[in-house]
Symmetry: C2
Subunit: 327 residues, 2 copies
């Protein structure tokens, strides 16, 4: 079986592809399928070198390029490619081109092969915003207050309709804020939640632009990758007529994050975090959902991280070279 991962060169894509290679197969409907080839598609070629990995660089907003990525042997598609929230808000046209046009091109390509490939769409809790209930459930109406969330919601509607029509077997998962993101800071408005762990652990200063009591709904990259594979493994019947689900996560306050940072990096690491309120960021973060009731996802077998300390522990294990400060 061939697998296509868009945005495959990103940290989640790379972790997913490594996981698939390590396992040597992918589980679908209780059966493990051997992996013949993984196409890793991104704007720049992926770093992973393996005989089974085919690194392709290109523009997802180019329909012809995307058509060339999906073939009759493409049994599974994981659609991670996206312009992140801050960037989609700052450059509306870029967000529309990549997040909306790109998704449409991919769905069209998946439909064109006529084999109803299984497609996982990485959506986001950013589909929720504005006047939200204290606890968001799967019955809460998505009301995005940012272009990124709007584009993700449109992607979900398309995945749902393409699945209903039998063009694909699609599933959309609303991913919590991924913490701790490795690597360089990106354009995600939620980036500080990773930055205040990642940067101090590397001996670098970090800014906390929100009140330390601010709560976010988070999951580690490891757990998100596990949940992606679970979302693909589930039979279509587990999704029923509704192809989107809110993934489980943890409620983490920035206080709790700093406590975990102290535990692993010591007071010196915490001393590298400077609280510098940024009204624009705070205004945005206040429109985000912080608490979820994910009964449906839990019943479907999705599992969140155990606690915030284990999230930091996983980051340190997965990124040993990026950590210089240890308590």
């Amino acid at each position: 079986m061939d697998i296509l991962v868009t945005g495959g060169a990103g940290f989640l894509g790379q972790q997913l592809i490594r996981g698939l290679l390590d396992r040597g197969g992918i589980e679908l409907d209780g059966r493990t399928h051997g992996i013949d080839r993984i196409v890793c598609f991104d704007q720049a070629a992926g770093a992973l070198q393996d005989a089974r990995v085919h690194n392709v660089a290109g523009d997802i907003s180019d329909a012809a390029v995307v058509r060339g990525l999906v073939g009759k042997d493409t049994g599974v598609i994981v659609h991670l490619a996206a312009v992140v929230s801050g960037t989609a808000e700052a450059d509306f046209d870029l967000g529309m081109r990549v997040n909306l046009d790109g998704t449409r091109h991919l769905l069209a390509a998946a439909r064109a092969v006529g084999t109803q490939p299984r497609l996982l769409f990485s959506s986001s809790i950013a589909v929720f915003g504005g006047d939200l209930p204290a606890v968001v459930t799967d019955a809460t109406t998505p009301t995005p207050q940012g272009s990124y969330g709007a584009q993700k919601l449109i992607g979900e509607v398309l995945v749902q309709d393409y699945s209903r029509k039998g063009f694909i077997d699609g599933r959309s998962v609303r991913v919590p804020t991924v913490v701790v993101r490795p690597g360089l800071p990106n354009g995600a408005a939620s980036g500080f939640a990773s930055g205040i762990i990642r940067e101090p652990l590397a001996g670098k200063p970090a800014l906390l632009p929100v009140d330390p009591a601010t709560e976010m709904w988070v999951a580690s990259p490891r757990t998100v990758v596990k949940m992606f594979l679970h979302a693909l493994a589930l039979p279509a019947s587990a999704w029923g007529w509704h192809r989107s689900v809110n993934l489980p996560g943890l409620v983490a306050s920035m206080h709790e994050e700093l406590d975990a940072l102290r535990r692993f990096g010591g007071d010196a690491a915490v001393g590298l975090v400077r609280h510098q309120p940024d009204e624009a960021v705070m205004r945005l973060v206040r429109t985000w959902a912080g608490r979820f009731d994910t009964t449906r996802a839990l019943a479907m077998g999705f599992r969140p991280d155990a606690d915030f300390a284990s999230i930091v522990q996983a980051y340190i294990e997965d990124n040993p070279h990026a950590v210089t400060m240890r308590a």
Copy 2:
């Protein structure tokens, strides 16, 4: 002020344009603006001849054509153009091209002029479907079970985001099933609800493909046009952060429709209706919402029809030449 009406040659568009011409102005935020020009855009030229009406025929899925429709003087845009539900389901690509691409082109054109035109998007209760509560409210999550509803929902999300960004001042109204549609039957799956009144009143046979107890959420063309003008008249503050609203309607069973038909057309008219159950139509209709709580719309000043008899009465008054059977 210039006004653009897409789908302007359709029966709702023509009734709207006639209404605007009769009034000689359009009310926005409590102030009446004179009308310099109404651009009536549709795939075929509109029939209305008036010095103020500019009939333009073209393809809304052609971005360049749509760009040419919106200028700096276009203060108001009413977006009615759409491929109807049955057609969008039968020809997926056509529905995507007209209902999704067409809407995107129009929003892009409205943004490009830089004057934040007021835009009314005619959405539909077809955004609701599947496992619905007994009474649908504005808090009910749209879960379209047809491509038409999916495309309308995507249009709403775009109108919302374009408004939030300040590109347009947009409003989306979810229109009930419009009964009695004049003219020839179209591709709308709900067409029978009009057909069983319109055809017998013209002395022609009609099929009722569903159980006579079937209930639908309906509004007359007259009332819908009034609600369109009200949606445009309201200040942006009346919409707040949520730019979509479920319009008020009436719950009408097919029994009630036939009773009204008897009152206006006599037993002979009712005798022209043949009950011929169609499982495919019934399956589709069962996924539709039949009852709504439109508290929000009523508080905003939208008003439904008084009763089903007044809907038929309005049809007869507005289409005297199409009625030959009178009780």
